[in-house]
Amino acid sequence: MPRIALILPDLLQRAGMAAVLERYFAPVEVEQFGTADDTLRENGLFDVYFTDCAVFTANVDFFLPRRSQCVILVPDGSAALPGTETPRVIATGGTLEELLDHIGKVLVPVRSAAETPSDELSAREVQVLQLVVSGAINKEIADRLNISLNTVLTHRKNIAAKLGIKTISGLTLYALMHGYVSTEDINT
């Protein structure tokens, strides 16, 4: 989920921006700052920083190294700097449709980069899945595949995330549907 910092002194602008992001671009994690203070500086990595001209220029030391992740909000579009790619400039004086288009262009690449591109199970994960579904407990799976208990847990977590399935009965259904196991392999 993209982590977004809003560094805007105006409370209403900040709250409005947070509301727009959460309503139209969920899931996002939005943190709000009135100034580019120490909390922001120490807060680690955000994917995108939304701010305004005044804050940006007053804190170039912080923003310049991160300019490819910065978006400057301006009241109207005519202030856009021609020829410069970053930091990006978004005009907030237009229609909601325009605003959403501009924000979308910033956020969509961030989001798709963060997601794992494939939901295909690896050969190892298929083995773990087959054992889970056949009723083996984690310890047995570790012994059978000669891997550590932690590795089994990691595989199980990845399988659940890739397939979007949490329960054993759900995994069983998936494994049967895809021919990874047959009905005879299942004890229950």
């Binding site: 947070a18 509301a19 979007g164 949490k166 009965s169």
Partner: protein, 236 residues
């Protein structure tokens, strides 16, 4: 926290009909209180007075149903155990007699729509049958043991030595029934293949989503209100 919303909390002065028009998912909830359609423009308070229902209780349930993040714990804890148990029993009955058969009916048609060719649909049917069995078993336990015990305890009819404090509930997120339903929807959306009728698949997914949501609210009331109240009574 500042969030946009299209919805506002429901209040006693608002016509119940307006609330139900805007949120049809509340219709089964109010029918658990014996309220039927044909409401005219009577306010929530007036309809409740006609039916001798505690309007505050029904409104609190309606609002917690609509707003998953809205959970007025103090208000809910002020209601009587018998009100809570009565409501939860009625939701259980609704699952057994209405929602489960409804899903089964759609699912049966969906399986038939794939002909004998689509083995995956039969597997889905089996998965749901397993879910239905486990839900039926836990409802059965509620009806025979847990709810009568809660009622007896709140009526002061259980001796100190016979009191059994409830085990800490799973968090709503880990509830096995909810997880299984979510898995079922997810498997259908991501992995359904072969021949089947699109509209029937949608009908099943919609019906599954609707019971899932209802069970989530049921669990919030059970785990965060009824269980702590019973726990306090056991210790008190």
């Amino acid at each position: 926290m500042f969030t946009f919303t299209d919805m506002a909390l429901l209040t006693p002065d608002m016509p119940l009909s307006a609330a139900l028009e805007q949120h049809p998912t509340l219709i089964p909830l109010v029918s658990r209180f014996g309220i039927r359609l044909g409401l005219g423009d009577k306010s929530v308070a007036a309809v409740c007075a006609d039916h001798q229902i505690d309007a505050r209780f029904m409104l609190t349930l309606m609002n917690t149903y609509l707003f998953e993040e809205y959970f007025p714990e103090q208000k809910l804890k002020s209601f009587h155990v018998s009100q809570l148990v009565d409501y939860l029993s009625k939701t259980n009955a609704y699952y057994l007699h209405y929602q489960l058969p409804n899903i089964e009916r759609h699912l049966g048609s969906l399986i038939a729509s794939g002909g004998a060719e689509n083995r995956n649909l039969a597997l889905l049917g089996k998965f749901f049958a397993g879910f239905k069995q486990s839900l039926t078993d836990s409802i059965d336990y509620d009806t025979r043991k847990w709810f009568p015990y809660c009622l007896a305890l709140s009526a002061g009819e259980v001796e100190g030595r016979d009191r059994i404090a409830p085990t800490a509930p799973d968090t709503a997120d880990d509830d096995p029934a909810v997880s299984q339903l979510r898995d079922m929807r997810s498997i259908m959306v991501r992995h359904l293949s072969g021949e089947y009728n699109d509209n029937l698949a949608y009908a099943v997914i919609f019906a599954v989503g609707s019971i899932e949501r209802d069970i989530r609210q049921h669990n919030r009331i059970r785990n965060r209100i009824l269980t702590p109240v019973i726990d306090a009574l056991c210790r008190g």
